[in-house]
Structure formats: structure tokens, C-alpha cells
Amino acid sequence: MSFDRFAFTRRQGLKAVLASAAGGALGAFGRLDAAQAQTRAETLRHVLAGTVNTLDPTTPGATRESFGLSTAVYDRLASYGRKQVNGSWVFDFDNIRGELAEKIDRSADGRTFTFHLRKGATWHDGAPVTAEDVKWSLDRAVSAKSLAAGQIATGSLTKPEQFKVVGEGVVEVSLERPDRLALANLAVPLSPMFNSTLARRNATADDPWAQNWLKENTAGGGAYMVEQYKSGQQTILKRNEAWKNGAGGALPYFKRVIAQTVPEAATRANLLERGDADIAIDLQSSDISALEARGKIKLVATPQINGFTAIVFNTRMAPFDNPKVRAAVAAALPYEAMFEAALFRRGRPLFGATWTDAPNGAFPQPLPFRTDAAKAKALLAEAGFPDGFKTTFSFSAGVAAVAEPMATLIREALGAIGVDVSIQKLPPAQMASMEVERRVPFFISAGTAWLPAPDYFLRNYFTGDHRWNFSGFSNPKLDALAQAARFEADAAAYEATCRQMVDIVARDVPMIMVWQPNQDAVMAPVIDGYTYWFHGQVDYRDLRRA
């Protein structure tokens, strides 16, 4: 390995010599001497479209990029494992290991978790990690006005009384009922562990949880420390040489990480092809095939197993409050054509199944939605609209690349059964507020569930009044099943409950999950170890230069 690295350095050095020999007015700007080449090899340059707007992932309004960055800077008590699927790494939801905790004990009744913290673990400032720090961090997650409280409540973690220090380096978390997702919630970016001494020193009377200070500063113990943070432009991380909480206790490969915002997708692609950037996960899907064909980059395409794109009906607005109308539209949609034109087949389809009763409780799974214009016409007549109706199909300008071809095809296909669709493209903020106020009848939306358990998916996207229930769906039976599944300890009973829920969703069609798009991670050919994570961001700790 050390030999490889030397070879790399020498090559880079040679290039630099050549560049300076070439001279020239502009050529001289590519300054890269041997020492810099060495640093370059040990540095990862990630170019991203979005921005990191806070260093504390629990800040209300935090961007997805902030979540991604925080996984490298903060440790959590636990972490998911990873597994290889079709040659690429994917997170493994069923395999949770300790991160800051060395050992996690679960009581027989599933109501108590005991976390034994790793011996000798330290914060970035060198102070030892104590059980009191963990208690403070968990208290903060449920008490402070932040994103964390809403998230970890989905694991029945709601009160400080649930967290107890029971010995040196031992913390106990107790639950009223054995929630299936309690432990999983302690492995997400919204439950980071803070150095409580440092954070408390910067808390004020108005801000007892140091939320203001932590937006710009960090109090963590993760694999990387923040060296420079320029909100909206770039963040530079350097490796925490004392970090021992990774899988097998290994340090991450890269000594430095630069996460730089480059808004233009074409520029990000150029940077990667020229070898000036190492990784990007948000290129345009229309560019991916061409990039792959030219062969200068490596593409790791992973279907987002915990995400989906959906065509949504507002079930609280006529005529889509009628399940027959929804079923009619579902039978009229041109699935294959949309998959081809909008996604270039880069993903996993969720349509076209042939069953009538759900074969298993997995979700999302392909549902029996197939194009059948005759059936659509019949259903529409049955619903009382033999001559069709007029409606509007809306989408956010932010997803226009995918949504525009979909909208055109939908308009054409629905026109054939007499439904007159006008297309409405809205600015992202306007689309968000119209969705929340449930003023759009028929639209495109997308979602990702951090915890890809079928019951979590169904509960979040098909029940309740919050915004993720895009269709405003309300079905008492589904509501009851979704609540029951949460505390179901028996695997077979859980599977049966989930199957019933899948059946309801397939029959009532509140929204049509059409596919799970690929996450196309494009990287330099020498970058290895990229893993698709549930938060959809790059975890720098996985990557290495081969």
C-alpha cells in the first residue's frame, strides 16, 4: 500500500514538473509541487450541489448535506453495518453495531438497552467520553427545540427520565413498550453524542443546549474534526488521529476531506473527468450514461432501497377522494415509457407486479400497477366520470429534469381516457407550501425513510396529518395496523401485519410509488469503498484511494 502511494506521488510530481516546464501564460496556473501532490493523494475532494448550513445536524432547517457531514464529525452510540449487494456496498439495517458504545445489551423484554461506552474513547479536545456526556446528549435530543425530538420519538424516546447513568461508562435507556425502532433511532445523524462539558461552557440562559454555538462550532469525538467551515462554500475536515470507534477500530484512509459546493452539475462532471475532484453523488442522470461511456470515471449505481418517487393523489380533494378515480388513473399511466424517458431506466421499478394479494410484507415492493387503458376507462365510468374531468398536475422546478418528461407522458396518456391534465411547474418553496396546505390535487413527490422498516415506511407515508403523508390518506384500519406493528415482537405476526398494510395501499392507491431511483455516485477510478447510506450522503469514513 505504501508503495502504491509513493508511485502515485511520483506520478503527480512528474506531472507538476511537466506542467511548469510547459510554462505558458495559463499553464503556469496549475501549480502542484511534489509536497502538494502528496497532500493531494491523502485528501478527498467531494463536490456537491447543496450547501452545509449548520454544523449541528439537529438545527431546524438543516440541509441533507449537513446530516452527511455530521456523520464524520460526530459519533453516535450505535451504527448500522454495511453489506455488499451486486458488488456495491449498501448499509445493513438489520445489523447494528456499537459505535461510541463498545457493547449494547438488550433486556429479554426488549424494554431496556444498556450501553457500555468504549474504554479510552476521547473527544476532539482530548477529554475522556463519560456516561454523563451521553446522558446530556440524549437529554438534549428529547428536550431541545430541534429536529432530533421528532425523529427519536419514532423510537418511543421522548423523556429525559428514560436515560440513566448506571455506572462508570454505562448508560441505560428504558422504554415503556418494546419499540422495534428504538435502537435504530440511536444510529441516525439526528442522535449525535456531544462533549457536554464543552457544549455547556458555551450555553447561555436563553440557549441552555448551546444550539447557537454548535451551529458554527463542534463538540464531538468523531472520525474527523472541522478545520475550516465556510457556510455555503466549503468545509474542510482533518482526520482525528485518536479515533477508535470505527468498524475494527481502523482509522479512515483520508487525512483531509474537502467538501466544496459547486452548484453547476456540468462543472462537477468536468471536475471529475479531469481528475480534479474525487467524488460527487448528485450529477444529472442524463449525463451519467455519457460519463460512463467515456470511461474516465467510476460509477457506483445503487437503487435507493429506502427511497421512492411517487405520483400522488390528494385524497382529500375531489375527484381524487374517490378510490375508483385513483385506480382508473393508476391503470392509465404509461409506466414503462416514464421509466425510460424520465429515469433512463436507472433505478428499480415499483410497478408491474402481477399479484392480487401481497406475497410478503416487504415495503416498498413492486405493486400491481400496470398500464391497461380499457380497465382505466371502465373504472372511470364506474366512478361517475364517463367523459373524464379536468385536473392539474404539479411538480417542483427543483426536480424538473425527471418530472417534466413524466408530466408530458401523463398528460398524453390521461388525455386518451378523457382526463384533461394541465401541467404546473412551481418554484420549490411554493410547491412545498402548496403540498403542506394540501392545495395541489395531483403531483410528483419523493421521499426517503431513514429507517427502512416496512411499518415505519407505511406509518410515515400513509398515516397521520404531517406533511410526509403526501396524499393526506386516512384509513382507520391502516392506522391501527401501523401502530400495532411498531410494538410487534413476533416476526411472523409482524410480517402478516405488514402484508395487510401493503394490500390496503395497493387497493386504495393513495399514491403510486413508481420507482426507486438509483443513487449514481461518480468517483475517480481509484476511489474505493463507497457505501450507499440511508441518509443518502457520502460517509467519508468508508472511502479509500486504492
Binding site: 505558458g24 495559463l26 499553464g27 503556469a28 496556473f29 501549480r31 502542484l32 502538494q36 497532500t39 493531494r40 485528501t43 450547501t51 448550513n53 449548520t54 438545527t59 431546524p60 432547517g61 440541509t63 441533507r64 427545540k145 429536529l147 421528532g150 425523529q151 420519538a153 419514532t154 439526528l190 451551529k215 458554527e216 465556510k230 457556510s231 455555503g232 462554500q233 466549503q234 474537502i258 466544496q260 459546493t261 459547486v262 452548484p263 453547476e264 456540468a266 462543472t267 468536468n270 471536475l271 473527468e273 479531469r274 475532484a277 418554484p427 418553496a429 411554493q430 412545498a432 407550501s433 402548496m434 403540498e435 403542506v436 431513514w450 410515515n460 396529518d465 404531517h466 406533511r467 410526509w468
Partner: protein, 343 residues
């Protein structure tokens, strides 16, 4: 001495007259942002369980839960104390954001303007001296091309050729090579700061980053500058005093540069003022394409997210700059044409 006094009086009058306009801008942007559809709370409430509580919390943070007149009074009160509010998109005070990004935009715009003038003035003069000749048509063609091709197309094209294909230009991301150390922030203008600390290699690198975006912008504003120079010079060349000058046997060079050009510059100055203000506000696309950390891309991001404070701050800043530029142009008028300051 009296000229100076004259200028001072004009400056004062001008500033006073611009106050109502500025207030109007403040009120108008404030109302416009609130009338526009799009609820910032819905946009930023991205948490996994984004319920009403979280949105209410964001509204409270942004002060949107209060009645609009009260919001406005608070806003004006904050303005009086030099506080432009807090950006949700970057999480920073808007004042700090703008102060950090302003030099980037200014440096790019000024450099592009100088580049554009260096090209446009000679082209305009040549075109005016030989109207309807091949040169004139050539200039017209170049100008039309510059205006017709949108800036982001020019930008992407330049990147493709000079960075991707030829590898001559450095990677088009920002003001400085990401692996290089920035100079200490003295003026915020990298070219000036590198010179002040005597780092010539750094200066060259910053210059290299600047050249492509500046060319992109310069091409776009070439047309108004060159066309105005040509038109105004043509008019002057046809006037009596030029005929007189020629008839007394003055050299062509003297006639054109000393007599004609000086008189033709007045409308060109006006155009420069307008072009400069427009460039500063409208170079959003160039900033996006080149990842330039300027105020244009900052305001656009904020606008798309319905983030009120940065947009209001941006519009106010541009309005202030517009006033200042007009003032400068006004003072320059007096120097170019002393008759104006006598009034």
C-alpha cells in the same frame, strides 16, 4: 476651490434625494417577499417528522408569526441598527454573508468591466471611423453574438474548451485553487491582497481563476458599450466643430481623440454606470457556473427557498450601489464636460 464646493453640494443633494427612493425599495421588497407564494417554514421544515410544531417553530425564529406591520417596524428598526437579519439558507447573519461575498462580486464585475471597456472602446471607435465598412459589420456581428448567447452558455463553452479540452485554465470553482492558501483578508479583493503581501504565485493563480468568468461577462456587455461609443462618436464626427477642426488642418488623430472622443464620452459614461449596476446584480448565472462565491448566487438561492432576509438585504445593497454609481457618474460628468458643473 469653487469647483470642489460645487461637487460637494451636488453630492449632498443627490444623497438626500435618494433617501425616499431607498425607503421605497425597502418597503417594496418587504411586501413583495411576503406576497410571493411560498412559505419558508414549509420549505425549511425538512425534518423526518415535519409537523405543524416544527413549522411554527421556524416561523417564530423568522419572526413570521407576528402581524405584518409589526414585522415591518421591527425590520426597519433592525436596519437602523445595521442588522439585516439572519439567513436560513446559510445560518449566518445576512450582513456578514454580504460583506464576505461582496468583494468577490465586485472584483469580478470591475475586472470584467475593464476588460469590456478595453475591447468595446477601440471597437466602437474603429466602427465609427469607417461606418458601413467591413470592419463595422464585423464589430456589429461580434456584438450581436455576445448579446445573443446567454452567459451560462458562453461560460460552459469557455470551461469546456479551456479547462476540459485544453487544460489551460485552472478548475472553474471559486476565486482560488482549493488546495492553495488564501491571502490574509485585507481588502477582500484577492488580486490586491496577494500584491500587498507580495505573493506573486498566488496573484497569478487568482488571476487565472478570474479570467474565464470575467471574459464571459465582458462578452455579454460588449454590445451596449461598443454600440453606444460608435453611435455617439458618429454624431459628434458629423458636427460643425469637427468640420472646423479638420478644415484648419489638424491631424486626424488629434481631431478624433482630443476633440471628438471627449465630447462623445458623455453618453458612454451613462451606459457604463447602468452596465456596471446591472452586471453586479445580474451575474447570477456566471457566478453559478463558476461556483463564484458572490452575492448574485447567494440571493438566488435565498429567493428559491423564500428566505426573506437575504433577498431583502441583497435588493437594498444593490439599490445603495446603484445610488453610489449614479453619484460617481454624475461627478465624472462634471470632469468630462465642465459645462455641467456650472449649472
Amino acid at each position: 476651490m469653487s469647483t470642489l464646493l460645487n461637487i460637494g453640494r451636488r453630492v449632498g443633494r443627490h444623497l438626500l434625494a435618494s433617501l425616499p427612493a431607498l425607503f421605497g425599495v425597502v418597503l417594496f421588497t418587504f411586501l413583495l417577499m411576503r406576497v410571493l407564494p411560498g412559505d419558508p417554514a414549509a420549505f425549511f421544515a425538512s425534518g423526518p417528522n415535519a409537523g405543524q410544531a416544527e413549522m411554527a417553530q421556524i416561523r417564530e425564529t423568522m419572526g413570521l408569526d407576528r402581524p405584518i406591520p409589526e414585522q415591518f417596524l421591527r425590520y426597519v428598526g433592525d436596519l437602523a441598527r445595521g442588522n439585516l437579519g439572519q439567513s436560513m439558507t446559510t445560518g449566518q447573519p445576512v450582513m456578514a454573508d454580504l460583506a464576505e461575498r461582496m468583494p468577490a462580486s465586485l472584483e469580478l464585475t470591475l475586472f470584467a468591466l475593464v476588460l469590456a471597456l478595453a475591447l468595446a472602446l477601440p471597437l466602437g471607435i474603429v466602427a465609427a471611423l469607417r461606418p458601413n465598412s467591413l470592419i463595422d459589420h464585423g464589430v456589429r456581428f461580434l456584438c450581436t453574438l455576445g448579446v445573443c448567447v446567454p452567459t451560462f452558455v458562453t461560460g460552459l463553452l469557455l470551461i469546456y474548451v479551456f479547462y476540459y479540452l485544453l487544460g489551460l485554465a485552472p478548475d472553474p470553482t471559486g476565486r482560488i485553487d482549493i488546495f492553495a492558501a488564501p491571502p490574509p483578508g485585507i481588502t477582500g479583493f484577492l488580486l490586491v491582497d496577494f500584491l500587498l503581501v507580495g505573493d506573486l504565485a498566488g496573484w497569478k493563480a487568482a488571476f487565472g481563476q478570474l479570467i474565464l468568468p470575467a471574459c464571459t461577462m465582458a462578452l455579454f456587455v460588449l454590445a451596449p458599450l461598443a454600440r453606444m461609443t460608435r453611435a455617439s462618436l458618429l454624431a459628434v464626427l458629423g458636427s460643425d466643430f469637427i468640420r472646423t477642426a479638420r478644415s484648419v488642418g489638424m491631424s486626424d488623430w488629434r481631431v478624433v481623440v482630443v476633440y471628438a472622443l471627449r465630447n462623445a464620452l458623455l453618453p458612454v459614461l451613462t451606459i457604463i454606470g447602468i452596465v456596471f449596476s446591472t452586471m453586479l446584480g445580474a451575474n447570477v448565472l456566471v457566478e453559478k457556473v463558476f461556483s463564484w462565491p458572490g452575492i448574485g448566487s447567494y440571493a438566488l438561492d435565498a429567493l428559491l427557498a423564500s428566505d426573506y432576509a437575504p433577498v431583502q438585504g441583497f435588493v437594498l445593497l444593490i439599490a445603495v450601489i446603484f445610488v453610489m454609481v449614479n453619484l460617481t457618474i454624475d461627478v465624472l460628468y462634471g470632469i468630462v464636460d465642465p459645462r455641467i458643473s456650472l449649472k
